[in-house]
């Protein structure tokens, strides 16, 4: 009931639809209501004022009115803290699903007013904004659940300054989406065999050129376990070998056949990360999208993960 009322209220509040940045907070989209402290304070002042009126005690009445006037000024002042603030930019680096998206928000202002103690919130997460004459930036963590394009939620910019008696708030609803990569599979088998014949020979050459050790994963050959090194640790360590330049991987959709749809995507994401870490060139072929040619590096990784993130869900895929 209360939640329904709250939803109804939310739907009345401006902005009613997503907007392009920069968004300037004007008077008509800033809301002010007393905080609990403000209500308590108002009750105190009301009691004082009524008593003073009853006894015609003018100093007491002046005292109550002085406080009430200052409280009222703080109400307007809280409104003014927000009004004129401009939300210039919002950006976020893509993260794997499940990890918090770090939303970077750049704020500015049209005027030179002193602003302090602003708070930026969305859902359960919030962050305090340091605001000076040139504006301010804030980094708001947003929880992510699933891969794909995540439309940004309504962000709430609020303040209880200057006295904590009133809270002014305004919503910013950026018409922007953040990309969320698929979460890489945690327990994935090692990278598949490289494309072409040359690759096989590379594996059998194992034993030379130890590059570094990594944690054991199911499917690793017992031969490759570094027993001596593992004995010093609690977990099994596996040798990884330097790969040759010619060692090229083709991460193809059918390689993951037999797994559920989403897990196939997560495994490919994992393999992309692994290949990137091991410095092996790789290509990605997934249905519904143009194949991504061989490559290596941050831009290539981003391209592959983006393609994976944007893959349609199973139902659409059929």
């Amino acid at each position: 009931m209360l939640a329904a009322l709250r939803r109804r209220m939310q739907s009345w509040m401006r902005p009613r639809q997503a907007e392009t940045l920069p968004a300037c907070l004007q008077r008509n989209r800033i809301y002010v209501l007393p905080t609990m402290t403000g209500l308590f304070f108002g009750l105190l002042l009301g009691t004082m004022g009524l008593g003073a009126l009853n006894f015609n005690n003018n100093p007491a009445l002046l005292l109550a009115l002085l406080l009430a006037g200052a409280a009222q000024a703080s109400l307007i002042s809280a409104h003014m803290q927000l009004s004129g603030v401009v939300v210039d930019t919002i950006a976020a680096d893509p993260v794997p699903a499940g990890e918090p998206l770090r939303l970077r928000i750049g704020l500015g202002a049209h005027d030179a007013r002193m602003r302090r103690g602003m708070r930026l919130a969305s859902g359960n997460s919030h962050v305090h904004v340091e605001f000076d004459h040139n504006g301010g930036t804030a980094e708001l963590p947003l929880p992510t659940e699933r891969r794909g394009l995540m439309p940004l939620p309504r962000l709430e910019l609020s303040t209880v300054q200057p006295l904590g008696l009133a809270r002014a708030w305004a919503y910013v609803w950026p018409a922007q989406s953040a990309l969320v990569y698929p979460a890489p599979e945690a327990q994935a088998p090692p990278l598949p065999a490289p494309a072409g014949d040359a690759g096989r020979a590379q594996v059998t050459r194992a034993g030379d050129d130890v590059h570094h050790l990594r944690g054991y994963r199911t499917g690793d050959a017992p031969r490759s376990v570094a027993w001596k090194a593992s004995a010093r640790r609690d977990s099994l360590l596996v040798r990884e070998y330097e790969q040759h330049r010619s060692d090229q991987l083709l991460l193809d959709w059918p390689l993951t056949a037999g797994l559920p749809h989403e897990q196939r995507i997560r495994r490919l994401a994992r393999w992309v990360d692994d290949a990137e870490r091991e410095g092996r060139r790789y290509a990605l072929q997934i249905p519904g999208q143009a194949p991504i040619p061989m490559g290596l590096g941050e831009a290539h990784r981003h391209r592959c993960l983006r393609a994976l993130a944007l893959m349609p869900g199973e139902a659409a895929h059929g």
Binding site: N58, P59, L67
Partner: protein, 642 residues
């Protein structure tokens, strides 16, 4: 809570508590203050255990019950002070801090119920500012605001700004918000009475009052003022004597004033008594006319119909009597001759002897000669002093025959007993004598130290006649003619007297404009504009209008900061807005000159000047600074119209 926040919160609570503590009995005030400080120190890091708090609370209540017993307004305020002194023991979170500040603000409010003097006012103002400062700091804490380097300057200017902004609204509400003509519920009495003129007098009991240099009343005369020697401010009239104490006859209040013939035209004056919480008023000599809400009792003492809890003003007329109550009813005559049996045998014997020697006549000549004889004796043998020993059983005898020293209470009560013993109806009148004229504001100030007691004797045909036996001995003590009784004077140095005069004049203005402002004064607020009475509907309407204006002013002042700070950009944006009204606004991403080109293609006639303006704007903004060009550009931008 940060350390600074904790400290500021406690400081605000202390500032709130201070004016209240000053109003309590000194032992309690000092004790509670110490307890509050100790508790604040002990609970700095963590809450005190509940049992300890309970124990301290109980002992504080016990202290109140012992030192100031009784149930009344002052007791309630004392309990509030005790609770507030205890409250810092549980201040750890922001919420605790806020509730501490909120509740603490009741303390200055309670102090005002006990005292509305300037000290309380100044302290309360300081308390309000400290509380706002603490609230602001609590809000900083909530938002984890970094503390700026110039903290005190910024924080205090922020608070002062808020108060200044709220002031017009507060003032509008103060003057125009409809007041209650009669209280909805009464103000409880104090459990412990303040010193002042009371309805009884025990000789030797007024020493506190006579050393109290605070004002008792201020009087402004319209027309002639009486000479200082005529200034007898009549208070309670005391008839009954039980050997120790003189008392009023309460029933006389309910009888109309006795008939009286005035000598001369009398005096017209406005008297403003300080609040006494009694209904007793004071009036010059014999009052002949009092305003509504006041009445004159049979013995010419005046009363208000309601206790004087606040500052009040009374426009009265008084006159010296040619004959006051020339016919004395028998009941009153007997009452005015009554003496307790078994007290003061020597005085009674002397009175009877004097009567035998003077004889009896209906003209009252014998009575007058007895009065003169007594005055002559007093003038010859007696001396004035405030240093008197405690009264014995036969106090009048001791005074008249052995000690022969005392002050007005002794002189007047002994004189009346002696007169009664001689068969002359007489009574004690208490009140004030003399006054100090404040040249600033031209009004008279009656101080509590002017408290006085004199006698009235009833003589045939003349009625009640005032006799002041004290003035026979020490007129300078009665009328303050000595320079060293000047208020504000310290020893031989009278440089502070002008300051005192101005200070008291300000105090009177404050009393007049603020303390004495009530429903009646509010209704007369628009008298100067020819409107005699405003209905409460009219007041509410006016209040709403003025409050709306004040709110709009607040909003405007605060919004003014929204203006673009750079004048060039401001003018440029204005220009853009003018074009936007014609549908040719500059898009936010559009460079100045590209915009001018686009507009020029659209509206050829404003194209060339706009192109020139935008080029000059770009130059001024991004190229070298040239102040005279900047000034010209600003003017051109302001005058250009699409």
């Amino acid at each position: 809570m940060r350390v600074r926040t904790h400290a500021l919160t406690l400081l605000a609570a202390a500032a709130c508590l201070l004016p209240l503590l000053l109003q309590l009995p000194p032992a309690l005030g000092l004790g509670f203050g110490l307890v509050a400080i100790l508790i604040a120190i002990a609970s700095w890091r963590r809450r005190l255990p509940f049992l300890l708090r309970l124990l301290i609370g109980i002992s504080m209540i016990a202290a109140i019950a012992i030192i100031a017993p009784g149930v009344g307004r002052d007791t309630a305020c004392t309990v509030l002070a005790a609770m507030l002194a205890l409250k810092p023991s549980e201040t750890s979170s922001l919420r605790d801090g806020r509730s501490l500040v909120g509740f603490a603000l009741f303390a200055p409010f309670a102090a005002f119920l006990l005292d509305q003097g300037p000290t309380s006012l100044l302290l309360a103002l300081a308390a309000v500012l400290a509380s706002l400062l603490a609230l602001q700091q609590l809000a900083y804490d909530e938002a984890q605001v970094r503390i700026p380097a110039a903290y005190w300057r910024q924080a205090s200017s922020g608070v002062l700004k808020l108060v200044a902004l709220g002031l017009p609204l507060a003032m509008a509400a103060f003057w125009l918000f409809p007041r209650l003509p009669t209280p909805l519920w009464g103000l409880p009495d104090r459990a412990v009475a303040k010193p002042g003129l009371s309805d009884s007098m025990t000789p030797g009991g007024w020493l506190d009052l006579m050393n109290d240099d605070s004002p008792a009343a201020r009087v402004q005369f319209f027309g002639a003022a009486p000479s200082r020697e005529q200034m007898y401010w009549r208070g309670p009239v005391l008839w009954d004597f039980d050997g120790r104490t003189w008392r009023q006859i309460k029933q006389l209040q309910y009888m109309p004033a006795a008939p009286m013939q005035a000598a001369g035209t009398g005096w017209d004056y406005l008297i403003e008594p300080e609040p006494t919480e009694h209904r007793q008023l004071i009036a010059l000599d014999l009052p002949t006319q009092v305003p509504g809400g006041a009445f004159i009792a049979l013995d010419y003492s005046t009363y208000s119909t309601a206790p004087l809890n606040g500052v009040t003003r009374w426009r009265m007329r008084s006159a010296a009597p040619a004959a006051a109550e020339p016919e004395l009813p028998l009941v009153l005559r007997q009452r005015a001759l009554e003496l307790p049996t078994g007290f003061n045998p020597r005085t009674l014997a002397m009175g009877r002897q004097w009567r035998r020697e003077a004889g009896n006549d209906t003209q009252g000549r014998a009575d007058a000669s007895i009065v003169d004889r007594a005055l002559a004796m007093i003038r010859r043998e007696f001396a004035y002093t405030l240093d008197v020993p405690l009264a014995g059983r036969n106090e009048i005898d001791d005074f008249l025959f052995d000690r022969k020293q005392g002050y007005c209470e002794h002189f007047s009560s002994s004189f009346v007993v002696l007169m009664r013993a001689a068969g002359i109806p007489s009574r004690v009148v208490t009140g004030y004598a003399g006054g100090y004229r404040n040249p600033v504001g031209d009004y008279w100030l009656v101080l509590n130290s002017d408290a006085h007691a004199w006698a009235e004797v009833w003589l045939p045909r003349r009625g009640w006649v005032r006799v002041d036996p004290t003035a026979a001995v020490a007129p300078e003590r009665v009328f303050d003619t000595l320079v060293d009784r000047q208020p504000g004077r310290i020893g031989a140095f009278d440089g502070l007297v002008p300051m005192f005069n101005v200070g008291d004049w300000l105090r009177r203005g404050w009393n007049d404009f603020v303390l004495g402002y009530d429903a009646q004064r509010q209704q007369r607020l628009f008298n100067p504009f020819g409107k005699n009475r405003i209905s409460s509907h009219g007041l509410i309407l006016m209040f709403t209008a003025v409050a709306a204006l004040a709110l709009a002013w607040m909003a405007w002042l605060l919004a003014r900061g929204e203006r673009e700070k750079d004048p060039l950009l401001r003018a440029w944006h204005q220009l853009g807005r003018r074009y936007a009204r014609q549908g040719n606004g500059r898009a936010i991403h559009e460079p100045a000159e590209a915009w001018a080109e686009r507009v020029g293609a659209d509206v050829p006639e404003s194209g060339a000047p706009l192109r020139a303006l935008s080029r000059r704007f770009s130059n001024a903004r991004y190229a070298a600074k040239d102040t005279s060009e900047l000034r010209r550009l600003l003017r051109d931008l302001a005058t250009h119209r699409p």
